[in-house]
Amino acid sequence: MRDITLGQYYPADSFTHKLDPRVKLVLVIAFIVMVFLVKNLIAYAAVILCVVLGTLISRIPISKVLKSIKTIIFLVLFTAVLNLLFYKGDTVLWSWWRISVSLEGILFSIKMALRLILLVMGTTLLTYTTTPTGLTDGMESLMYPLKLIKVPTHDIAVIMSIALRFIPILSEEVDKIMMAQKARGASFDTGGIVKRAKALLPVLIPLFVSAFRRADELALALDARCYNATPNRTRYQIMKPTYRDLIAVAGTAAFIVLVVALNMNFWGAYVPSESLWWLFS
Protein backbone atom coordinates (compact mmCIF):
# COMPACT_ATOMS: atom_id res chain seq x y z
CA MET A 1 0.00 0.00 0.00
CA ARG A 2 1.11 3.52 -0.66
CA ASP A 3 0.63 6.62 1.39
CA ILE A 4 -1.78 8.81 -0.54
CA THR A 5 -2.78 11.70 1.65
CA LEU A 6 -5.65 12.82 -0.55
CA GLY A 7 -7.78 9.94 0.58
CA GLN A 8 -6.54 10.89 4.07
CA TYR A 9 -7.66 7.62 5.56
CA TYR A 10 -5.48 6.64 8.50
CA PRO A 11 -5.85 2.94 9.21
CA ALA A 12 -6.11 2.02 12.86
CA ASP A 13 -8.23 -0.22 14.97
CA SER A 14 -10.38 2.08 17.06
CA PHE A 15 -13.89 2.72 18.24
CA THR A 16 -14.36 5.54 15.75
CA HIS A 17 -13.04 3.51 12.81
CA LYS A 18 -15.68 0.89 13.47
CA LEU A 19 -18.61 3.30 13.52
CA ASP A 20 -21.18 3.24 10.75
CA PRO A 21 -20.10 5.85 8.14
CA ARG A 22 -23.65 7.26 8.02
CA VAL A 23 -23.64 7.83 11.75
CA LYS A 24 -20.26 9.53 11.50
CA LEU A 25 -21.49 11.78 8.70
CA VAL A 26 -24.54 12.84 10.71
CA LEU A 27 -22.46 13.35 13.84
CA VAL A 28 -20.01 15.54 11.95
CA ILE A 29 -22.87 17.67 10.65
CA ALA A 30 -24.16 17.95 14.22
CA PHE A 31 -20.66 18.87 15.33
CA ILE A 32 -20.43 21.63 12.71
CA VAL A 33 -23.76 23.05 13.86
CA MET A 34 -22.55 22.86 17.44
CA VAL A 35 -19.37 24.79 16.62
CA PHE A 36 -21.44 27.54 15.02
CA LEU A 37 -23.77 27.70 18.05
CA VAL A 38 -21.00 28.32 20.49
CA LYS A 39 -20.80 31.84 21.89
CA ASN A 40 -18.71 32.01 25.03
CA LEU A 41 -15.25 30.77 25.86
CA ILE A 42 -16.32 28.27 28.50
CA ALA A 43 -18.50 26.54 25.90
CA TYR A 44 -15.52 26.52 23.55
CA ALA A 45 -13.62 24.69 26.25
CA ALA A 46 -16.30 22.00 26.14
CA VAL A 47 -16.01 21.69 22.34
CA ILE A 48 -12.22 21.45 22.61
CA LEU A 49 -12.67 18.68 25.16
CA CYS A 50 -15.04 16.94 22.73
CA VAL A 51 -12.54 17.10 19.84
CA VAL A 52 -9.61 16.00 21.99
CA LEU A 53 -11.60 13.06 23.33
CA GLY A 54 -12.65 12.14 19.78
CA THR A 55 -9.05 12.22 18.58
CA LEU A 56 -7.83 10.12 21.49
CA ILE A 57 -10.56 7.54 20.97
CA SER A 58 -9.72 7.37 17.24
CA ARG A 59 -6.02 6.67 17.96
CA ILE A 60 -4.90 9.27 15.43
CA PRO A 61 -1.37 10.45 16.22
CA ILE A 62 -1.02 14.10 17.24
CA SER A 63 1.38 14.70 14.32
CA LYS A 64 -1.42 13.85 11.85
CA VAL A 65 -3.83 16.24 13.55
CA LEU A 66 -1.27 19.03 13.58
CA LYS A 67 -0.63 18.40 9.89
CA SER A 68 -4.28 19.03 9.08
CA ILE A 69 -4.21 22.27 11.08
CA LYS A 70 -1.04 23.38 9.33
CA THR A 71 -2.89 23.65 6.03
CA ILE A 72 -5.25 26.31 7.39
CA ILE A 73 -2.93 28.10 9.78
CA PHE A 74 -2.42 30.99 7.37
CA LEU A 75 -6.16 31.54 6.99
CA VAL A 76 -6.58 31.40 10.76
CA LEU A 77 -3.87 33.97 11.43
CA PHE A 78 -5.12 36.25 8.66
CA THR A 79 -8.70 36.36 9.93
CA ALA A 80 -7.53 36.67 13.52
CA VAL A 81 -5.42 39.76 12.69
CA LEU A 82 -8.26 41.37 10.72
CA ASN A 83 -10.74 40.72 13.52
CA LEU A 84 -8.33 42.03 16.08
CA LEU A 85 -7.79 45.32 14.23
CA PHE A 86 -11.26 46.07 12.93
CA TYR A 87 -13.68 44.70 15.55
CA LYS A 88 -15.65 47.57 17.07
CA GLY A 89 -15.58 46.99 20.80
CA ASP A 90 -16.32 49.21 23.79
CA THR A 91 -13.21 48.68 25.90
CA VAL A 92 -10.67 50.22 23.50
CA LEU A 93 -7.11 49.46 24.47
CA TRP A 94 -5.27 51.11 21.58
CA SER A 95 -6.41 52.93 18.47
CA TRP A 96 -4.94 54.66 15.46
CA TRP A 97 -6.81 56.02 12.42
CA ARG A 98 -9.60 53.50 11.74
CA ILE A 99 -7.83 50.72 13.52
CA SER A 100 -8.61 49.92 17.10
CA VAL A 101 -7.84 47.04 19.37
CA SER A 102 -10.41 46.39 22.02
CA LEU A 103 -10.78 43.78 24.72
CA GLU A 104 -13.89 42.46 22.97
CA GLY A 105 -11.93 42.34 19.71
CA ILE A 106 -9.27 40.19 21.29
CA LEU A 107 -11.89 37.79 22.62
CA PHE A 108 -13.70 37.74 19.29
CA SER A 109 -10.60 36.94 17.24
CA ILE A 110 -9.61 34.18 19.65
CA LYS A 111 -13.07 32.67 19.28
CA MET A 112 -13.02 32.86 15.49
CA ALA A 113 -9.60 31.22 15.34
CA LEU A 114 -10.77 28.48 17.68
CA ARG A 115 -13.87 27.98 15.58
CA LEU A 116 -11.88 27.45 12.37
CA ILE A 117 -9.37 25.12 13.98
CA LEU A 118 -12.07 23.08 15.69
CA LEU A 119 -14.05 22.77 12.45
CA VAL A 120 -11.03 21.39 10.63
CA MET A 121 -10.05 19.07 13.47
CA GLY A 122 -13.55 17.68 13.76
CA THR A 123 -14.11 17.10 10.08
CA THR A 124 -10.68 15.58 9.43
CA LEU A 125 -11.46 13.17 12.20
CA LEU A 126 -14.15 11.86 9.86
CA THR A 127 -11.85 11.54 6.84
CA TYR A 128 -9.06 10.02 8.92
CA THR A 129 -11.28 7.29 10.29
CA THR A 130 -13.47 6.48 7.28
CA THR A 131 -12.33 4.88 4.03
CA PRO A 132 -13.26 6.78 0.86
CA THR A 133 -15.56 3.90 -0.07
CA GLY A 134 -17.22 4.09 3.32
CA LEU A 135 -17.77 7.81 2.83
CA THR A 136 -19.36 7.46 -0.60
CA ASP A 137 -21.53 4.55 0.50
CA GLY A 138 -22.61 6.52 3.54
CA MET A 139 -23.44 9.56 1.43
CA GLU A 140 -25.41 7.47 -1.01
CA SER A 141 -27.42 6.02 1.80
CA LEU A 142 -28.06 9.44 3.36
CA MET A 143 -29.14 10.80 -0.02
CA TYR A 144 -32.03 8.35 0.00
CA PRO A 145 -34.74 11.08 0.06
CA LEU A 146 -33.29 12.50 -3.17
CA LYS A 147 -33.68 9.12 -4.80
CA LEU A 148 -37.41 9.37 -4.28
CA ILE A 149 -37.48 12.44 -6.49
CA LYS A 150 -35.54 10.53 -9.17
CA VAL A 151 -32.05 11.92 -8.54
CA PRO A 152 -29.66 9.13 -9.67
CA THR A 153 -27.97 8.86 -6.27
CA HIS A 154 -26.46 5.47 -7.00
CA ASP A 155 -24.80 6.71 -10.18
CA ILE A 156 -23.45 9.72 -8.35
CA ALA A 157 -22.00 7.48 -5.66
CA VAL A 158 -20.43 5.11 -8.20
CA ILE A 159 -18.87 8.00 -10.10
CA MET A 160 -17.51 9.38 -6.86
CA SER A 161 -16.01 6.12 -5.72
CA ILE A 162 -14.46 5.38 -9.13
CA ALA A 163 -12.94 8.85 -9.16
CA LEU A 164 -11.55 8.32 -5.67
CA ARG A 165 -10.25 4.89 -6.63
CA PHE A 166 -8.43 6.36 -9.62
CA ILE A 167 -6.55 8.99 -7.65
CA PRO A 168 -3.95 6.64 -6.16
CA ILE A 169 -3.66 4.71 -9.42
CA LEU A 170 -2.98 7.84 -11.43
CA SER A 171 -0.59 9.23 -8.87
CA GLU A 172 1.36 5.97 -8.98
CA GLU A 173 1.41 6.23 -12.74
CA VAL A 174 2.69 9.81 -12.60
CA ASP A 175 5.54 8.57 -10.39
CA LYS A 176 6.44 5.83 -12.86
CA ILE A 177 6.31 8.08 -15.92
CA MET A 178 8.31 10.81 -14.21
CA MET A 179 10.95 8.27 -13.29
CA ALA A 180 11.15 6.96 -16.84
CA GLN A 181 11.57 10.49 -18.21
CA LYS A 182 14.07 11.42 -15.51
CA ALA A 183 16.09 8.39 -16.55
CA ARG A 184 16.23 10.00 -19.99
CA GLY A 185 17.56 13.21 -18.51
CA ALA A 186 14.34 15.16 -17.98
CA SER A 187 14.32 17.45 -14.99
CA PHE A 188 11.20 18.79 -13.36
CA ASP A 189 12.54 21.09 -10.70
CA THR A 190 14.86 23.45 -12.52
CA GLY A 191 14.29 26.49 -14.69
CA GLY A 192 11.58 29.13 -14.80
CA ILE A 193 7.87 28.59 -14.76
CA VAL A 194 7.56 28.23 -18.56
CA LYS A 195 10.34 25.71 -18.72
CA ARG A 196 8.83 23.71 -15.88
CA ALA A 197 5.41 23.71 -17.51
CA LYS A 198 6.98 22.48 -20.75
CA ALA A 199 8.85 19.77 -18.90
CA LEU A 200 5.50 18.36 -17.75
CA LEU A 201 4.38 17.59 -21.31
CA PRO A 202 6.36 14.32 -21.51
CA VAL A 203 4.55 13.27 -18.33
CA LEU A 204 1.05 14.44 -19.15
CA ILE A 205 0.81 12.83 -22.58
CA PRO A 206 1.63 9.27 -21.46
CA LEU A 207 -0.57 9.86 -18.42
CA PHE A 208 -3.61 10.79 -20.52
CA VAL A 209 -2.99 7.94 -22.93
CA SER A 210 -2.93 5.45 -20.09
CA ALA A 211 -5.84 7.07 -18.23
CA PHE A 212 -8.07 6.75 -21.30
CA ARG A 213 -6.92 3.19 -21.80
CA ARG A 214 -7.71 2.39 -18.18
CA ALA A 215 -11.12 4.02 -18.40
CA ASP A 216 -11.89 1.95 -21.49
CA GLU A 217 -10.77 -1.22 -19.77
CA LEU A 218 -12.81 -0.43 -16.70
CA ALA A 219 -15.91 0.17 -18.82
CA LEU A 220 -15.33 -3.16 -20.57
CA ALA A 221 -14.84 -4.94 -17.28
CA LEU A 222 -18.06 -3.46 -15.91
CA ASP A 223 -19.93 -4.52 -19.03
CA ALA A 224 -18.38 -7.97 -18.99
CA ARG A 225 -19.80 -8.48 -15.49
CA CYS A 226 -23.19 -7.18 -16.58
CA TYR A 227 -23.00 -4.19 -14.28
CA ASN A 228 -25.84 -1.74 -14.41
CA ALA A 229 -27.38 0.55 -11.90
CA THR A 230 -30.65 -1.27 -11.42
CA PRO A 231 -32.64 -0.51 -8.29
CA ASN A 232 -32.36 -2.89 -5.33
CA ARG A 233 -28.78 -3.90 -5.96
CA THR A 234 -27.45 -5.94 -3.11
CA ARG A 235 -24.24 -4.92 -1.40
CA TYR A 236 -21.03 -6.64 -0.47
CA GLN A 237 -20.62 -4.62 2.70
CA ILE A 238 -23.83 -3.87 4.47
CA MET A 239 -23.76 -0.92 6.84
CA LYS A 240 -25.45 -1.76 10.08
CA PRO A 241 -25.54 0.48 13.13
CA THR A 242 -24.45 -1.27 16.33
CA TYR A 243 -24.35 -0.46 20.04
CA ARG A 244 -21.17 1.55 19.32
CA ASP A 245 -23.13 3.93 17.14
CA LEU A 246 -25.64 4.35 19.93
CA ILE A 247 -22.86 5.23 22.36
CA ALA A 248 -21.35 7.70 19.87
CA VAL A 249 -24.72 9.38 19.28
CA ALA A 250 -25.43 9.57 23.00
CA GLY A 251 -21.97 10.98 23.69
CA THR A 252 -22.26 13.67 21.05
CA ALA A 253 -25.78 14.54 22.18
CA ALA A 254 -24.50 14.93 25.74
CA PHE A 255 -21.82 17.31 24.52
CA ILE A 256 -24.32 19.34 22.54
CA VAL A 257 -26.54 19.69 25.61
CA LEU A 258 -23.51 20.68 27.69
CA VAL A 259 -22.39 23.26 25.12
CA VAL A 260 -25.86 24.77 24.85
CA ALA A 261 -26.15 24.88 28.64
CA LEU A 262 -22.77 26.55 29.06
CA ASN A 263 -23.62 28.91 26.24
CA MET A 264 -26.69 30.19 28.07
CA ASN A 265 -25.16 30.09 31.55
CA PHE A 266 -27.47 27.20 32.39
CA TRP A 267 -30.52 29.15 31.24
CA GLY A 268 -29.61 32.05 33.46
CA ALA A 269 -29.47 29.89 36.59
CA TYR A 270 -25.82 30.69 37.01
CA VAL A 271 -24.60 34.24 37.37
CA PRO A 272 -20.86 34.45 36.83
CA SER A 273 -18.78 36.58 39.15
CA GLU A 274 -17.46 39.91 37.89
CA SER A 275 -13.87 38.78 37.40
CA LEU A 276 -14.89 35.83 35.17
CA TRP A 277 -17.10 37.76 32.73
CA TRP A 278 -14.72 37.11 29.80
CA LEU A 279 -15.28 33.39 30.11
CA PHE A 280 -19.03 33.71 29.91
CA SER A 281 -19.69 36.42 27.33
Binding site: A180, K182, A183, R184, G185, I205, S210
Partner: protein
Protein backbone atom coordinates in the same frame (compact mmCIF):
# COMPACT_ATOMS: atom_id res chain seq x y z
CA UNK B 1 32.21 1.03 -15.19
CA UNK B 2 32.28 -0.66 -11.82
CA UNK B 3 29.28 -0.35 -9.52
CA UNK B 4 29.71 -0.95 -5.83
CA UNK B 5 26.76 -1.26 -3.46
CA UNK B 6 27.43 -1.19 0.27
CA UNK B 7 24.86 -2.04 2.93
CA UNK B 8 22.00 -0.52 0.98
CA UNK B 9 18.60 -0.35 2.68
CA UNK B 10 15.43 1.35 1.57
CA UNK B 11 12.05 1.85 3.23
CA UNK B 12 8.95 3.06 1.37
CA UNK B 13 6.71 5.52 3.28
CA UNK B 14 8.77 5.38 6.47
CA UNK B 15 7.04 6.14 9.80
CA UNK B 16 3.53 5.57 8.44
CA UNK B 17 1.23 2.56 8.67
CA UNK B 18 2.17 1.89 5.01
CA UNK B 19 5.84 1.47 5.90
CA UNK B 20 7.49 -1.21 3.76
CA UNK B 21 11.09 -2.34 3.96
CA UNK B 22 11.98 -2.95 0.31
CA UNK B 23 15.75 -3.41 0.67
CA UNK B 24 17.62 -4.56 3.72
CA UNK B 25 21.43 -4.40 3.95
CA UNK B 26 22.30 -5.32 0.37
CA UNK B 27 26.00 -5.30 -0.63
CA UNK B 28 27.68 -6.44 -3.85
CA UNK B 29 29.94 -5.24 -6.64
CA UNK B 30 29.38 -5.26 -10.39
CA UNK B 31 32.60 -5.30 -12.40
CA UNK B 32 33.04 -3.69 -15.78
CA UNK B 33 32.10 -6.18 -18.49
CA UNK B 34 29.70 -8.12 -16.26
CA UNK B 35 26.21 -9.08 -17.28
CA UNK B 36 24.48 -9.39 -13.96
CA UNK B 37 21.08 -11.00 -13.62
CA UNK B 38 18.95 -9.92 -10.69
CA UNK B 39 16.33 -12.46 -9.77
CA UNK B 40 13.88 -12.99 -6.95
CA UNK B 41 10.17 -13.45 -6.51
CA UNK B 42 7.64 -10.66 -6.98
CA UNK B 43 8.06 -7.88 -4.46
CA UNK B 44 11.57 -8.93 -3.44
CA UNK B 45 12.96 -5.46 -4.18
CA UNK B 46 14.57 -5.90 -7.60
CA UNK B 47 13.08 -2.78 -9.17
CA UNK B 48 13.76 -0.75 -6.04
CA UNK B 49 17.41 -1.81 -6.12
CA UNK B 50 17.82 -0.98 -9.80
CA UNK B 51 16.24 2.45 -9.49
CA UNK B 52 19.06 3.34 -7.11
CA UNK B 53 21.75 2.92 -9.78
CA UNK B 54 20.90 6.16 -11.57
CA UNK B 55 19.58 7.94 -8.49
CA UNK B 56 15.90 7.81 -9.45
CA UNK B 57 15.58 6.70 -5.86
CA UNK B 58 18.11 8.55 -3.73
CA UNK B 59 20.21 6.52 -1.34
CA UNK B 60 18.82 6.88 2.18
CA UNK B 61 20.90 4.26 3.92
CA UNK B 62 24.17 2.74 2.74
CA UNK B 63 26.41 3.72 -0.15
CA UNK B 64 26.62 3.25 -3.91
CA UNK B 65 29.65 4.03 -6.06
CA UNK B 66 29.31 4.24 -9.83
CA UNK B 67 32.88 4.25 -11.08
CA UNK B 68 34.56 6.42 -8.48
CA UNK B 69 31.58 8.67 -7.93
CA UNK B 70 29.72 8.33 -4.65
CA UNK B 71 26.11 8.75 -5.77
CA UNK B 72 24.81 8.73 -2.21
CA UNK B 73 26.23 12.25 -1.88
CA UNK B 74 23.76 15.10 -2.31
CA UNK B 75 26.11 16.88 -4.68
CA UNK B 76 26.08 14.18 -7.36
CA UNK B 77 25.64 15.52 -10.89
CA UNK B 78 22.42 13.67 -11.72
CA UNK B 79 22.38 14.51 -15.43
CA UNK B 80 25.89 13.16 -15.93
CA UNK B 81 25.05 10.06 -13.90
CA UNK B 82 21.87 9.35 -15.86
CA UNK B 83 23.66 9.78 -19.16
CA UNK B 84 26.16 7.18 -18.03
CA UNK B 85 23.66 4.71 -16.53
CA UNK B 86 20.80 4.08 -18.95
CA UNK B 87 17.69 2.53 -17.49
CA UNK B 88 14.83 0.73 -19.16
CA UNK B 89 11.65 0.40 -17.12
CA UNK B 90 9.42 -2.58 -16.58
CA UNK B 91 6.83 -1.16 -19.00
CA UNK B 92 8.87 1.25 -21.08
CA UNK B 93 6.03 2.00 -23.48
CA UNK B 94 4.76 4.39 -20.79
CA UNK B 95 7.55 6.80 -21.60
CA UNK B 96 6.61 7.47 -25.25
CA UNK B 97 5.10 10.91 -25.68
CA UNK B 98 6.31 12.86 -28.70
CA UNK B 99 4.48 13.08 -32.03
CA UNK B 100 7.04 11.12 -33.99
CA UNK B 101 9.26 8.20 -33.09
CA UNK B 102 12.39 10.03 -34.19
CA UNK B 103 11.65 13.00 -31.93
CA UNK B 104 10.82 10.75 -29.04
CA UNK B 105 14.13 8.93 -29.31
CA UNK B 106 15.94 12.29 -29.48
CA UNK B 107 14.46 13.32 -26.12
CA UNK B 108 17.25 11.70 -24.12
CA UNK B 109 20.21 12.95 -26.16
CA UNK B 110 18.78 16.50 -26.20
CA UNK B 111 18.37 16.46 -22.42
CA UNK B 112 21.93 15.25 -22.04
CA UNK B 113 23.26 18.23 -23.94
CA UNK B 114 23.84 16.95 -27.47
CA UNK B 115 22.98 19.51 -30.17
CA UNK B 116 20.07 18.89 -32.57
CA UNK B 117 22.14 17.43 -35.40
CA UNK B 118 24.06 15.12 -33.12
CA UNK B 119 20.84 14.03 -31.38
CA UNK B 120 19.18 13.27 -34.72
CA UNK B 121 22.19 11.22 -35.76
CA UNK B 122 22.24 9.30 -32.46
CA UNK B 123 18.50 8.67 -32.70
CA UNK B 124 18.77 7.29 -36.23
CA UNK B 125 21.60 5.04 -35.14
CA UNK B 126 19.67 3.77 -32.11
CA UNK B 127 16.50 3.09 -34.08
CA UNK B 128 18.48 1.03 -36.59
CA UNK B 129 20.21 -0.80 -33.76
CA UNK B 130 16.93 -2.00 -32.26
CA UNK B 131 16.06 -3.49 -35.64
CA UNK B 132 13.51 -1.01 -36.92
CA UNK B 133 13.47 0.53 -40.37
CA UNK B 134 14.44 4.12 -39.66
CA UNK B 135 12.91 5.68 -42.78
CA UNK B 136 9.66 3.85 -42.23
CA UNK B 137 9.11 4.64 -38.55
CA UNK B 138 10.77 8.00 -38.07
CA UNK B 139 7.66 10.04 -38.90
CA UNK B 140 5.15 7.64 -37.36
CA UNK B 141 3.44 8.45 -34.10
CA UNK B 142 4.77 6.21 -31.32
CA UNK B 143 1.16 5.44 -30.41
CA UNK B 144 0.57 3.78 -33.80
CA UNK B 145 3.22 1.14 -33.13
CA UNK B 146 2.42 -2.37 -31.93
CA UNK B 147 3.34 -3.41 -28.39
CA UNK B 148 6.63 -4.98 -29.40
CA UNK B 149 7.55 -2.04 -31.62
CA UNK B 150 6.77 0.38 -28.80
CA UNK B 151 9.12 -1.57 -26.59
CA UNK B 152 11.84 -1.28 -29.21
CA UNK B 153 11.26 2.42 -29.69
CA UNK B 154 11.54 2.86 -25.94
CA UNK B 155 14.80 0.91 -25.86
CA UNK B 156 16.10 3.08 -28.68
CA UNK B 157 15.22 6.10 -26.56
CA UNK B 158 17.43 4.78 -23.79
CA UNK B 159 20.45 3.62 -25.79
CA UNK B 160 20.48 6.70 -28.04
CA UNK B 161 22.58 8.60 -25.52
CA UNK B 162 25.16 5.78 -25.43
CA UNK B 163 25.15 4.89 -21.74
CA UNK B 164 28.11 2.84 -20.52
CA UNK B 165 25.94 0.90 -18.08
CA UNK B 166 22.51 -0.41 -19.03
CA UNK B 167 19.94 -1.40 -16.43
CA UNK B 168 17.03 -3.41 -17.82
CA UNK B 169 13.92 -4.10 -15.75
CA UNK B 170 12.27 -7.19 -17.26
CA UNK B 171 13.13 -6.18 -20.83
CA UNK B 172 11.42 -9.15 -22.44
CA UNK B 173 8.21 -9.38 -20.39
CA UNK B 174 5.17 -9.58 -22.62
CA UNK B 175 7.04 -10.00 -25.91
CA UNK B 176 6.70 -12.89 -28.34
CA UNK B 177 9.56 -15.43 -28.56
CA UNK B 178 11.14 -13.73 -31.57
CA UNK B 179 10.90 -10.33 -29.95
CA UNK B 180 12.53 -11.76 -26.82
CA UNK B 181 15.41 -13.24 -28.74
CA UNK B 182 15.97 -10.03 -30.67
CA UNK B 183 16.18 -7.97 -27.52
CA UNK B 184 18.72 -10.34 -25.99
CA UNK B 185 20.71 -10.30 -29.23
CA UNK B 186 20.65 -6.52 -29.08
CA UNK B 187 22.04 -6.60 -25.55
CA UNK B 188 24.91 -8.78 -26.76
CA UNK B 189 25.59 -6.34 -29.61
CA UNK B 190 25.61 -3.42 -27.21
CA UNK B 191 28.13 -5.17 -25.00
CA UNK B 192 30.49 -5.33 -27.93
CA UNK B 193 30.30 -1.58 -28.49
CA UNK B 194 29.72 1.17 -25.97
CA UNK B 195 27.80 -0.51 -23.20
CA UNK B 196 30.14 -2.89 -21.40
CA UNK B 197 28.14 -3.44 -18.25
CA UNK B 198 24.59 -4.74 -18.19
CA UNK B 199 22.33 -5.37 -15.22
CA UNK B 200 19.08 -7.11 -16.00
CA UNK B 201 16.08 -8.15 -13.97
CA UNK B 202 14.25 -11.17 -15.28
CA UNK B 203 11.83 -13.87 -14.18
CA UNK B 204 12.93 -16.06 -17.07
CA UNK B 205 15.65 -18.42 -15.88
CA UNK B 206 16.48 -19.46 -19.46
CA UNK B 207 17.42 -15.88 -20.21
CA UNK B 208 19.44 -15.50 -17.04
CA UNK B 209 21.35 -18.75 -17.55
CA UNK B 210 22.13 -18.06 -21.20
CA UNK B 211 23.08 -14.39 -20.93
CA UNK B 212 24.47 -13.56 -17.50
CA UNK B 213 27.87 -14.31 -16.06
CA UNK B 214 26.64 -13.49 -12.56
CA UNK B 215 23.37 -13.69 -10.66
CA UNK B 216 22.18 -11.87 -7.62
CA UNK B 217 19.23 -13.39 -5.81
CA UNK B 218 17.02 -11.16 -3.69
CA UNK B 219 14.48 -12.41 -1.22
CA UNK B 220 12.32 -10.10 0.90
CA UNK B 221 14.74 -7.24 0.30
CA UNK B 222 17.78 -9.23 1.43
CA UNK B 223 20.60 -10.50 -0.73
CA UNK B 224 20.38 -14.29 -0.67
CA UNK B 225 23.04 -15.32 -3.19
CA UNK B 226 25.71 -13.53 -5.19
CA UNK B 227 27.09 -16.21 -7.44
CA UNK B 228 27.35 -17.53 -11.02
CA UNK B 229 24.50 -19.22 -12.91
CA UNK B 230 26.55 -22.47 -13.01
CA UNK B 231 26.77 -22.63 -9.24
CA UNK B 232 23.26 -21.40 -8.54
CA UNK B 233 21.52 -23.91 -10.80
CA UNK B 234 23.79 -26.73 -9.66
CA UNK B 235 22.56 -26.26 -6.10
CA UNK B 236 19.03 -27.67 -5.73
CA UNK B 237 18.74 -26.28 -2.21
CA UNK B 238 19.43 -22.74 -3.40
CA UNK B 239 16.95 -23.03 -6.25
CA UNK B 240 14.30 -24.35 -3.87
CA UNK B 241 14.89 -21.47 -1.47
CA UNK B 242 14.37 -18.88 -4.16
CA UNK B 243 11.33 -20.70 -5.60
CA UNK B 244 12.29 -19.64 -9.09
CA UNK B 245 12.83 -22.98 -10.79
CA UNK B 246 15.46 -24.17 -13.25
CA UNK B 247 16.17 -23.15 -16.82
CA UNK B 248 14.66 -25.70 -19.18
CA UNK B 249 18.02 -27.10 -20.23
CA UNK B 250 19.15 -27.60 -16.63
CA UNK B 251 15.83 -29.23 -15.86
CA UNK B 252 16.31 -31.74 -18.68
CA UNK B 253 19.85 -32.39 -17.59
CA UNK B 254 18.61 -33.19 -14.09
CA UNK B 255 15.95 -35.54 -15.48
CA UNK B 256 18.64 -37.34 -17.47
CA UNK B 257 20.86 -37.55 -14.43
CA UNK B 258 18.04 -39.12 -12.48
CA UNK B 259 18.02 -41.82 -15.17
CA UNK B 260 21.74 -42.35 -14.64
CA UNK B 261 23.02 -40.28 -17.58
CA UNK B 262 25.91 -38.20 -16.25
CA UNK B 263 26.77 -35.14 -18.34
CA UNK B 264 29.88 -32.95 -18.15
CA UNK B 265 28.13 -29.59 -18.52
CA UNK B 266 26.22 -27.04 -16.49
CA UNK B 267 23.71 -27.09 -19.37
CA UNK B 268 22.95 -23.37 -19.14
CA UNK B 269 21.49 -23.34 -22.62
CA UNK B 270 20.19 -25.86 -25.15
CA UNK B 271 23.39 -25.76 -27.20
CA UNK B 272 25.69 -26.77 -24.39
CA UNK B 273 23.29 -29.52 -23.37
CA UNK B 274 23.20 -30.83 -26.93
CA UNK B 275 27.00 -30.71 -27.23
CA UNK B 276 27.40 -32.63 -23.97
CA UNK B 277 24.94 -35.28 -25.14
CA UNK B 278 26.81 -35.62 -28.43
CA UNK B 279 30.09 -36.05 -26.56
CA UNK B 280 28.51 -38.59 -24.24
CA UNK B 281 27.18 -40.73 -27.06
CA UNK B 282 30.05 -40.02 -29.43
CA UNK B 283 27.88 -38.76 -32.32
Amino acid sequence: MRIKVEDLSYVYSPKTPFEKVALDGVSFTVKEGDTVGIIGSTGSGKSTLCQHFNALIRVTHGKIYVGDVDISSKKTDLTALRKQVGMLFQFPEYQLFDDTVAKDVQFGPLNFGFDREEAARLAAEAIKMVGMDYDEVKDKSPFELSGGEKRRAAIAGVIASKPSVLVLDEPTAGLDPIGKREILELVKELKKSFCKTVIMISHNMDEIAANCNRVIVLHDGKLLYDTTPEELFADPEAVARTDLGYPHSVHIKRLLEAKGVKLDTAALDADSLLEALKRRYCV
